[in-house]
Symmetry: C2
Subunit: 389 residues, 2 copies
Amino acid sequence: DDRFASSAIRDLLHHARREDIISLAGGLPAPELLPADHLGLLYTHVLDTVGSQSLQYGVTAGEPALRGLLALEGSGDPDRIVVTSGSQQALDLCLAALRPAHRAAIAVMEEPGYLGALQVLQARTYELSPVPVDQDGLCVDILEDRLRNGLAPTLCYVNPTFQNPTGASLSRERAHALVDLAERYGFIVIADDPYRELYFDEHRPPDQLRDSDMVIRLGSFSKTLAPGLRIGWLDAHQSVVARVERAKQAADLHTSTINQLVVAEAFGDKPWWNNHLDDLRTRYRLRREALSDALTTHLPHATLANQAGGFFWWTRLEGMNTDTFLTTCLEMSSGGGTAFVPGSAFHSGAAPSDHLRLSYSTADPTRFDEAAQRLANAMERAPAGKEGN
Amino acid sequence: DDRFASSAIRDLLHHARREDIISLAGGLPAPELLPADHLGLLYTHVLDTVGSQSLQYGVTAGEPALRGLLALEGSGDPDRIVVTSGSQQALDLCLAALRPAHRAAIAVMEEPGYLGALQVLQARTYELSPVPVDQDGLCVDILEDRLRNGLAPTLCYVNPTFQNPTGASLSRERAHALVDLAERYGFIVIADDPYRELYFDEHRPPDQLRDSDMVIRLGSFSKTLAPGLRIGWLDAHQSVVARVERAKQAADLHTSTINQLVVAEAFGDKPWWNNHLDDLRTRYRLRREALSDALTTHLPHATLANQAGGFFWWTRLEGMNTDTFLTTCLEMSSGGGTAFVPGSAFHSGAAPSDHLRLSYSTADPTRFDEAAQRLANAMERAPAGKEGN
């Protein structure tokens, strides 16, 4: 997802596609974990059994088979579900549906937070009210202070589990407090939760946000199955669903029928699905450990956020301006460079940061050691970067 | 596309899904013309040859293979192409990209015109300036009068070939005049052209709109291949493309990678593609003739628009209020009813109309005679409908 960074960073990372660069920037799934053979069988199966209906126009809210399966994971009510073209579209449609027509709207946003959310909030002309994220997720006490002082947001966006970029999960206490605030002050909580299945401890982290008419949950098959299918969903109160459906009908009529049916086959086959998720967890955990080992060896001064899931090591190089450092890392001519996303990219104000996001999800893990070595070499060559600010 | 009608008509047509109703309302492709077997082979082929990359995140503007093929049909320049989730999304993204931020925007819209365009224009808060359509398409002279009198639209939306719902094609003279006006008065012409390949005369109707920076062309594989894939595109000046790309990135990141690659395989195989289109033309022409025969037999007073392509017979029952008539047709208890879309649904003001749109694209053609008989029976039973308005 280097595509979401500011244009300056995007330009830099565009150069990072050179052969000699090891990119730890993108948050893409590991190519070897995309189940191409299994999905090939499912496309054939769907076309054989459903036939031309799988290629026909479908209903705007989504295929009943998939809505039913998704409802079983949540409230049990398929009418609360809208299938979307990835959770990015679920977010865009929520923003369209919730946006008041003739006045300004304010969105509370995690800082640092997901670049794609920052981008679509701006596209839908929301004013941002950024609230810091620490190791327990959004600092709900800071939000509460602002609400007491008159902040009247339309919505608050959070990644509740293994947040992008910090990896933090919202604590139980904060999650309860956040929903209480949403009900008291009348704003919607949009909980975008694509990483919750990718946990590396023994148990799946619980969904801490209690059920409330003020909570919209977004989900995605992009990290658990395949992003190229573009299948996500939202689970919301029916009054929101009705508005989202109208927005989706205007936006693109409906999401690909055949892709929805293929996902329903994969997701509905629980023995296959559970085995597949176990495999993802094992392999991403090994990738995470490999990058941790490499960083500990070559960058002993780096601080790694202590979280156990998702795609990213949120890393601090104390006092370093990581925007400048990225330029140095990409310009390394001898031995090639390493790409990452500097912390500034996850801030609405794009102020320099001494954090960087390193993804272990995509690159070849046998090159993690070399990548960390290159970062260490770049640090030696770039004392100017240490001026920070 | 009965989904786009006003909520009252939508409720009526929802009942039209009853078993005993013959629906000539929807504008869906014929199920038997959706090439399920061939597409099954192509999904397998793409997954075998491209592998996991076909399931991965893709670039926002679309897969290079498909953009290249689409460019060959137009300007030759792939950088003018953005692949979208159906042409409905292409339209939505154009409206987002062209919308001025802090003031009202006016869209010139065909009347009668495509319901999905009416809907998304309203969702994107454009004010409508409806201009009549006759047998030669948009009445450009009426538009010119308005422009002279101070109308300053942001854009003008047209279906240039076999327009939905009238079947009319924009004449060469009017197309030239329209682009001249767009350049002189500074507005964009959005030419949404999903039916041009479905011609029933000997030759494909030419694209009458000359190339201009003020013209955006929208295309779709929904009528020529399969709507359930959700693949459309736009072809525009690069300054528009850059804005559309940003809007698409915010809206849904990109369109399904695997579906784009499957479409590229089908569309790029010219012997198969041309043979497939020939087959569609033959079969839709036969369907059109079958419905014409049935209407001529049972409704000799109906006037049929004399156009030779697309999915619809635009039909006039002089003096009849077709909203009232639809209610009567759906309530037919003995022998079942027939559904259609009344003319009012294609007008922004939803005033009653004595036109109706009859689709020959979807229903079983062996039932066209029965459908027309039912319409004739309903006319006898509903003299009240003849009061007009």
